[in-house]
């Protein structure tokens, strides 16, 4: 994956600046406005929340979260289990009433202007969301009948690989099939904005690639997307904007590239080889200020500025030791590392 793979935004960390892509983001939003007779300006953010607090009894699930998502953007909300992602999404959808803070979805308050918003947004909850006995196709048709210009139901079932099981009751669909049906329900009404809570959880690799393709297409067509995920690769590949939350607070906010950007002097090389090699020789062969470690038996890491000469020195050392460097990885940081750095490596209770 090279730079061409990264989404072309990147420069702006704070999302407050008006969209550089207004021209292409404008078109669908304008048609949406005509469709609903909506007065909200297409230039208002798709989502803007500030200082949102949500408590359940003594538990403070969301503790002052603020974030802004521009129209036509894909925002990935990351965070450990229990960080408050689902609660945040439910506050945005209007399902949960915040104890404090303001929420604006497409310029409107989801609590007081729910009726005006409902037909403009699509929602994929984290699990469930269908009558246990309902057949896949019946459920999708029911949701489609609530929309003025729904997508073609057989086409959507086909596309999401649900044709074979369209007559299967929801409770007998596999986990991944339930997820795909739920995703279909979220997009069938051609919404302007979709909330997807862990859309690829439990999906096989083919289904995940399909969903990534689908999300890219939605975004290319001007749909604003908020998704939560535990897959850093998903966020890194798809998102314009990443927000990491922990214990109900935002702890990082920016484009994948700004979040993973580092000082050029702090790159690293990681590789696997036989355990217990003499790293002293490599340290000696490298210029000063390079740190060489065996992180876990057989996993080596070299920290410092990485250039072709350094890579060559490392591989020459491997050759000298008579070993092949496997999984050789040259990098700055990836999102996974950023995430672990920020949220810690321990399992949360």
């Amino acid at each position: 994956m090279d730079d061409g793979d990264v989404l072309p935004l990147v420069v702006v960390n704070e999302p407050a600046t008006p969209s550089l892509r207004l021209a292409d983001g404008d078109l669908p939003a304008a048609s949406a406005r005509d469709g609903t007779g909506d007065r909200a300006d297409a230039a208002t953010p798709a989502l803007e929340i500030t200082g949102v607090v949500k408590r359940f009894g003594t538990v403070t699930a969301v503790n002052g979260i603020g974030l802004t998502m521009r129209r036509g953007h894909l925002l990935a909300l990351l965070g450990p289990n229990g960080a408050g992602k689902t609660t945040t999404v439910e506050v945005c959808e209007g399902h949960a009433r915040p104890d404090a803070g303001t929420v604006r979805v497409l310029g409107r308050d989801p609590q007081t202007e729910r009726a005006a918003l409902r037909s403009r947004i699509g929602v994929m909850p984290q699990g469930g969301g269908a009558f246990p006995g309902v057949r896949a196709e019946e459920m999708l048709r029911l949701v489609a009948s609530c929309a003025r210009h729904p997508l073609d139901v057989p086409w959507l079932l086909d596309t999401l690989g649900l044709r074979e099981c369209r007559r299967t009751p929801f409770k007998r669909l596999s986990g991944g099939q339930q997820q795909r049906l739920s995703l279909a329900c979220a997009i069938v009404g051609r919404p302007e904005l979709v909330f997807l809570d862990e859309p690829t959880a439990g999906m096989d690799p083919q289904a995940r690639l399909l969903v990534w393709d689908l999300l890219s297409a939605l975004r290319a067509d001007g749909v604003s997307i908020l998704l939560t995920t535990h897959m850093m690769e998903e966020a890194e590949t798809l998102a314009d904007h990443v927000v990491i939350v922990d214990a109900g607070r935002v702890i990082a906010d920016g484009s994948p590239r700004t979040l993973t950007a580092t000082d050029p002097n702090v790159g690293h090389i990681r590789f696997r080889a036989k355990a217990g090699l003499d790293t002293g020789l490599l340290t000696a062969a490298l210029p000063e200020d390079y740190l060489v470690r065996e992180l876990t038996p057989g996993t080596y890491r070299v920290d410092g500025h990485v250039d072709p000469q350094v890579v060559s020195t490392v591989t020459a050392w491997c050759a000298q030791q008579g070993v092949l460097a496997e999984h050789l990885h040259v990098g700055g940081r990836d999102l996974e590392e950023v995430f672990l750095e920020l949220t810690g490596r321990e399992l949360r209770s």
Binding site: G4, D5, L7, P8, R21, D24, G25, A29, S31, A32, G35, T36, G72, H95, A115, R118, S119, R120, I121, G122, V123, P125, G127, G128, G129, A130, F131, P132, G133, V134, E138, M139, L142, V143, S145, C146, A147, R148, H149, P150, L151, T159, C185, I187, G189, R190, P191, E192, L210, W212, D213, L214, S216, A217, R219, A220, D221, G222, V223, T237
Partner: protein, 278 residues
Amino acid sequence: MSTTGPSAGNPASRFAPGTFVPAPGPGSRIRMLLAHARVETLLTLRHGEQLLLTVLIPIALLVALSLLDVLPGVDGAVAGSGGTGARVHEVAPGILALAVMSSAFTGQAIALGFDRKYGVLKRLAATALPRWLLVCGRMVAALVVVLIQVSLVTLVALALGWRPELAGVLPATGLLVAGTAAFGALGVLLGGALRADIVLALANIVWFVLLLAGGILLTPSAFPPGIAHAVTLVPSGALAEGLRAALMDGATAWTSLAVLMVWAVTAAAAASRTTRLT
């Protein structure tokens, strides 16, 4: 392979550019209502345990109580014409009331409790379906199911020799609709407020208690006077007594109708405050 830029489109994508251009807006209300009512009806008719409760038990009771002389106060010999034909005459109206209570109240409450548990209401609340249409859809479904139940019970009763007063058919229809509304609203009140497993237990207990002591199997006259009056004021007693007056005597029981309406309105008002989506 590369991921897409926002305007470039992905050449490797299986989706043509423009496939998902937003075009939001609510569907037509009548289509939403019909689609929702259709799904709710199908789900009820497909559900084995629901059918047992709503169709098989009432019909089994109808047959058993018409053929066997077990209930006090229901006595073919006293009624004059003797035997099964006379007993079914007295049993059938109560069984119709039982059928309504089983589907509109117990079945409805349990289904709603579990729909909430499985996030169905949240899902539907996220569509353009307004809440009042959600209620109407369930009501239409309840009426369709009651129509099917009443037809089946009536057919079996006719086969057993039932000859209802024709003059009572119209008031009976009105009572059945009012009874469905009253029990339906009570079912929503119960199913919309508590946890699914508690709803399941309570709905069945209430069903059983009303069956025995709510004026369905035993007519109010089988109870001591004070209690007898109270029995005519619970929805099951009002519906069963009203149906007996209509189908046995061809009379219109305005009091029963009024009692059912009061239950319907009160329960609906309460339910609109207490019903939760999850």
